[in-house]
Assembly symmetry: C2
Amino acid sequence: MSTTAPRRALSGTNINVNLLKAEYAVRGAIAVRSEEHRATLSHSDVPSSHGLPFDSVISANIGNPQQLDQQPITFFRQVLSILEYPALLETEGIYPEDVKARARTLLKEVGSVGAYSQSQGVAAIRKSVAAFIERRDGHPSNFADIFLTGGASSGVNTLLNTICRGPETGILIPIPQYPLYTATLALLNATAVPYYLDEPHEWSTNVPLIRSQLAKAKSDGIDVRCIAVINPGNPTGASLSEGDIEAVLDLAAEEHLVVMADEVYQTNVYRGEFHSFKKVLRNMQARKGGEKYSHVELVSLHSTSKGMVGECGHRGGYFELVNFDPEVQAQIYKLVSITLCPPVIGQCLVELMVNPPKVGEESHPRYQAEYDGIYNGLKKRSQALYSAFKSMTGVSCQDPQGAMYIFPTITLSKRAQEKAASEGKKPDEYYCLRMLDATGICVVPGSGFGQTEGTWHFRTTFLPPGTDWVDRMREFHEAFMEEFK
Amino acid sequence: MSTTAPRRALSGTNINVNLLKAEYAVRGAIAVRSEEHRATLSHSDVPSSHGLPFDSVISANIGNPQQLDQQPITFFRQVLSILEYPALLETEGIYPEDVKARARTLLKEVGSVGAYSQSQGVAAIRKSVAAFIERRDGHPSNFADIFLTGGASSGVNTLLNTICRGPETGILIPIPQYPLYTATLALLNATAVPYYLDEPHEWSTNVPLIRSQLAKAKSDGIDVRCIAVINPGNPTGASLSEGDIEAVLDLAAEEHLVVMADEVYQTNVYRGEFHSFKKVLRNMQARKGGEKYSHVELVSLHSTSKGMVGECGHRGGYFELVNFDPEVQAQIYKLVSITLCPPVIGQCLVELMVNPPKVGEESHPRYQAEYDGIYNGLKKRSQALYSAFKSMTGVSCQDPQGAMYIFPTITLSKRAQEKAASEGKKPDEYYCLRMLDATGICVVPGSGFGQTEGTWHFRTTFLPPGTDWVDRMREFHEAFMEEFK
């Protein structure tokens, strides 16, 4: 029999070491502090009695459109409301007929949205996803290869859990990256092999650089078996050219790498056009000599959280497996079955995203107007923010091409770096904390995503409405630069 | 430069070994085969041309109420429909006023259900959960200790990911168990330390037996730091007495074990009453000498998928941490933040579950009638199924006390066992496959949950409506027994 000394079983030192090592800055200390400021403001009945030098918190740290200005697309929400309460089918004068028809079709396929679906997702919805991919790419897609997910994060988790078998497994990860990747690899005790994106060239992929990182990892005994690419880029806002994608696929074919294409921002493209990895791969395979790409494994992820849908809270998404070994696919199925199924309302939202109202249908004009309004608003704000950054002292940034983010470089003086160090902070972290405390604007320091040593960045979304907050940011920045010049 | 031989990066042998080892029978081969039968039936236009000896598939393999007979509770769905489409607040004659009032309150707290919430869940909803726990137990609860989750499965995943640090970590798991536990431990490469439930004593916990398993694991160098208890039991249908729970808590205090109480079936109790681990722990702490329980860490999980709510597809749930080290709690927060937030509509359903219409409110009579109807139906069917099993040759089972399952023992002859072996199957698996192919009824073999060696069981829900399927099961059983007598 053991001692009964009153100690707990778990402490901050004896739990999962992989968890202790994992870092996730998007919702880290600065985000937590911004929530504290928000609480202070909301509990203050008398304006200005809160003691903060601002009256609102601006959450520019996270791509969360509907927390800010973006309104949901009416057609989507109308259908979802009927799925929740099918008695609404009997009402008159509330819904356009095509909304009711769509809800009826979905109810027939799904049954109750309160029932578990198949673990891989409702078959009819997966068929719609496959048809969407075919239209988008001009190449076939099989619904048996589509897995619906609870947002793309859950998909990345599933895939990395399948691919990784410990520290000897390496996954090529872009730097800067969305920290879901390194956090998940830390949890799996696998090795993130970083490859730096080419900032001066609009943050594009640089294959010679990737190749040298790969060679280095291999010489360290790492079995590098996958490359993650985020396109359009998070946090960079870059959008890859067809040539960039071909070069990555060439590398993958040669080096036996699974390509994990995080394409959740595929409709957030403001310059040029989006090229899916699937389309580019199929085009390469169709060319003369294309058989050398026949074995390339590709998984492409998409989500209802981004784009003009912006329904983060509904946790919908999917991934498509291309050319995976059927045994591996069966193991992925087993893994997703352990958590039963993705949220069914989120699955239905995937259906609506890939199969929106068509020209000639009653809901189409409103849908198109809302969609275009959101798109044009994002594009305009990305340019406004870009112009503002270009005008600030010691700030440079790339012209935003896609996604919801700008990732400017900030030049921080030696004095600012010393001040940060004296407070136990990284320079960019200190800068972002000071920005938050001075302006209420919450952004994420570049160190949360990774950056070339000795450079400092931050990521801000361009989702918050208006320009007042950009002025607040600019004033803070100039004062900070003056303070530490 | 590497060879360009056309091989894939991933195969059924080189992926995550932990995944390869994991087993999850609830949605395993038999469930997949039942889906194939369902597809065959649905594609057959001419009755009886499908070649199957049944005309419907009965999914008794999974606690999925709304796939079967159970209707959603109207109040819940009315509120959710407005949250999806707030313009419905302006309608007249569709909703009771208390539905609209509730939707308004929730929209004020949550904002858009399409926005990410705090990673731990909406604060106002966590406050409602804490208030519910206080009413249930008569002891305080703090909303800061509540984490909303995407179903209880996601909560178990979070907790085991925090607690386990490799093969040296042991978690006491009941046998039979819901296989989420062993599957998750396999993925984490941690050690499941099995403790057998006491079948002749209504599947209760047997602490001397647990103690001996614990001693054995410790002597093998395993750091056993947690005991999982499922109450009411899955797959057993047992409901623990206050004394049983006290004995487990005594053991936990003495042996420094975190208690993980899976209490998702807390309202599915048909005999006696439900005692929460939290209430029993607080009562023990309040007694003379109770300080020896002051360090006991407890986590209790609940869900919107079970009980009279039955909203599996919405993926709602929560866990409450009791007496956890703040540093550990901070790590749990970091872990959940990586996947951003649970589905927001599911969070709202948690609010409605813990805060249903009150006596005197407009929706209360309908709510109460629906709730009672579901409860009485489950109770009645559990008894009907129990009676049927008692009358079958070579079947014995415990009087069902709770949950949604009966887990009968079946006596399988040597000939049946040999026949199973000749087909490469376990005897109970063979029996269940034969049942499926003969009747269309899908149940889960006992080997999927664990059972004492040389005994054979299966788990069936008592959710399917009517008694026709029970007759089909009985006919199959008697014919099977005759065939292999």
